[in-house]
């Protein structure tokens, strides 16, 4: 009886289990009053925009607390716990502190670019939110080229980082932004190629279409494309500047990277935008690989956007987890990893997917046979290739080293010769 009641999501406008009811109701009201057609677009666009911006605002505040608490727990610390219950008011205190701070600007900075950079850094994340499907009828901008739009809008953030680094007129900021661009140029390639695998399987670039594909064949894309998920997750955490790859703001090397010279709320915008971008990327991953608002039979009982938010936070936890546990890469390691490991693997994956789609199209076998077969084949191949490649490229893992490790055995560029004429690298190997 209760189950039967729960499964029916009504069409009443007050039923917030499907928020599209509300916008349909408004549309009908305008239509009944013979309102102009553009008013419908403006009103529904405004509604969606307000919803998305308030979600982003809330997320940016709450995630400061989430991230610090979770990382704290992972590193055997308490994290913020003084202000309010469980330290929940800490983000508010942070924000007030940032707003009170004086906004300094270096005298030699180029003013307009310096001010525009944090704004431009925040915009792409909010833009990306617009095309994500939040439920069966809940997409603000249903784009036919959704995946391409995601790539295009997220590539704009690099330009903003560059603007910040260049206009600061500070060598550390410049280093940071140069690193970001080097990283972006390297990691854009595996990102694009791994997403191409997903698009090829789904046969559409529309994000809602990709979710519907997963619903139709009852398989999360991560099962069909484990390697693509793996590659995308790692590459995107490099693009997000999160800790295993946050060399653009490595405190121990280049002070604060591109935001060295920023203070007050300008810095706050960078900080918030980074959290927003992490959530947006989690949302992209949950749409493309984890079924978005669809979760087998669960979406008939629970509203899609709630499932979606749950998935977003699940993926976000993975990002926090990697941040809390992994040490930072060096810049050359990170770039070599992109070119020597990620790109070949992504191309391998693409060839495999192309072959599978071709077989599926040509053979005419039913999806009930093909999908489980692809899941098994791709899963084993993903594990096998990752293992093989790791054995091929990485030094062999030894829990207890059997031989002495010399400095020369590790691939480090040799240091310049010291004053006494002997190369330092040479003296250490002896």
């Amino acid at each position: 009886m209760i189950m039967a009641l729960l499964t029916i999501i009504t069409d009443n406008w007050w039923d917030i289990r499907d928020l599209s009811n509300l916008s349909h109701e408004i549309e009908k009201l305008i239509g009944d009053a013979n309102g102009p057609a553009w008013l419908i677009y403006v009103v529904s666009g405004l509604l969606g925009a307000i919803g998305i911006v308030s979600f982003i605002g809330g997320v940016a505040v709450i995630n400061i607390w989430v991230e610090r608490r979770v990382v704290g727990r992972m590193q055997s610390r308490l994290g913020p716990n003084r202000l309010g219950p469980f330290g929940l008011l800490q983000p508010v205190a942070d924000a007030i502190k940032l707003m009170q701070k004086e906004v300094l600007m270096p005298g030699t900075a180029s003013g307009l670019i310096f001010t525009a950079a944090p704004i431009m850094f925040t915009v792409p994340g909010i833009l990306l939110m617009a095309v994500l499907p939040w439920g069966r009828n809940m997409t603000l901008a249903s784009l036919d080229v959704g995946v391409l739009f995601l790539l295009a809008a997220s590539s704009l953030a690099a330009l903003a980082v560059f603007m910040a680094g260049y206009s600061s007129d500070n060598k550390y900021a410049l280093f940071g932004s140069m690193r970001v661009i080097a990283m972006l140029v390297s990691y854009e390639i595996p990102i694009v190629i791994s997403l191409l695998g997903v698009v090829l399987f789904a046969g559409t670039m529309d994000l809602q279409g990709i979710v519907l594909f997963q619903e139709k064949y009852w398989a999360f894309m991560i099962l069909l494309q484990p390697l693509a998920f793996f590659i995308y997750f790692i590459s995107v955490s490099a693009e997000l500047n999160r800790t295993p790859a946050d060399i653009a703001e490595a405190e121990s090397e280049i002070v604060g990277g591109y935001h060295t010279e920023y203070s007050g709320m300008k810095f706050g915008l960078f900080y918030a935008a980074e959290l927003i971008n992490a959530v947006v990327v989690s949302a992209i991953i949950s749409t493309l690989f984890l079924g978005g608002w669809w979760a087998y039979k669960l979406d008939e009982i629970v509203p899609g956007w709630m499932i979606y938010i749950g998935k977003i936070y699940g993926v976000y936890f993975l990002f926090v987890w990697t941040r809390g546990t992994l040490p930072r890469f060096r810049i050359d390691q990170l770039l070599a990893f992109a070119w020597k490991w990620m790109t070949p693997m992504a191309i391998l994956n693409l060839i495999l997917v192309a072959a599978e789609v071709l077989v599926w199209d040509e053979s005419g076998w039913s999806a009930g046979v093909m999908i489980p077969a692809f899941v098994v084949i791709n899963g084993t191949l993903a594990i096998a290739t990752v293992y093989a490649f790791m054995r091929l490229l990485a030094p062999k893992f030894e829990r207890f080293p059997t031989a002495l490790r010399f400095y020369s055995n590790i691939d480090v560029p040799s240091l310049p010769a010291t004053a006494d004429g002997a190369a330092r690298a040479g003296t250490q190997t002896v």
């Binding site: 391409l148 790539l151 330009l159 560059f162």
Partner: protein
């Protein structure tokens, strides 16, 4: 439809942004600022594509030009010495202005001379799938030739700029 007030207003705003930014590229003193204005002009052109309901071309415009090309240009500017990072005036400004003026005259003349027809057809729907079909079915040979050409150019660039082994720089 193309004659809607909103579309017309959007077109004029986008056109003004694009032309203004393009002018700023020529007039601004610092080269990095010029590159940033160029990126903004690219985005404006993408907006005009959206007005023309060419969504795929618009997104690719942002991805390739505003994303990749602008980043590449900034990278190139960064690698030049600081003294050369000026959008300084050259002796060629007069012939360049004459040439640009001539191009403008030709475009204006052609656009007035042509008898424009308003096509009586519905709006374009999704263009991505149709473009893909066209590229990989009837036009597959030019498409592949273009990609081979780009590959050759890339390999050539690497060969030209790679330093010899042992020739320590």
């Amino acid at each position: 439809m193309i004659n809607d007030t909103g579309i017309v207003v959007a077109f004029y705003i986008l056109a003004a942004t694009t032309v203004g930014c393009a002018l700023m590229v020529a007039f601004v003193r610092e080269l990095v600022q010029a590159v940033l204005f160029l990126a903004l002009a690219f985005v404006g052109i993408a907006g005009i594509y959206i007005v023309l309901s060419a969504d795929f071309v618009a997104v690719v415009q942002v991805l390739i030009y505003a994303g990749a090309v602008a980043v590449l240009m900034t990278f190139a500017v960064m690698l030049t010495p600081a003294a050369d990072r000026k959008n300084s005036s050259t002796a060629f400004w007069a012939p360049a202005a004459v040439l640009a003026g001539l191009v403008l005259v030709i475009i204006v003349f052609v656009s007035y001379d042509t008898n424009w027809q308003i096509a009586n057809r519905p709006q374009f729907g999704a263009t991505a799938a149709a473009l893909g079909e066209a590229l990989l079915k009837p036009y597959v040979v030019p498409f592949e030739v273009a990609s081979v050409l780009l590959m050759t150019a890339m390999v050539g660039a690497i060969v030209l700029t790679k330093e010899e082994e042992g020739e320590d720089a």
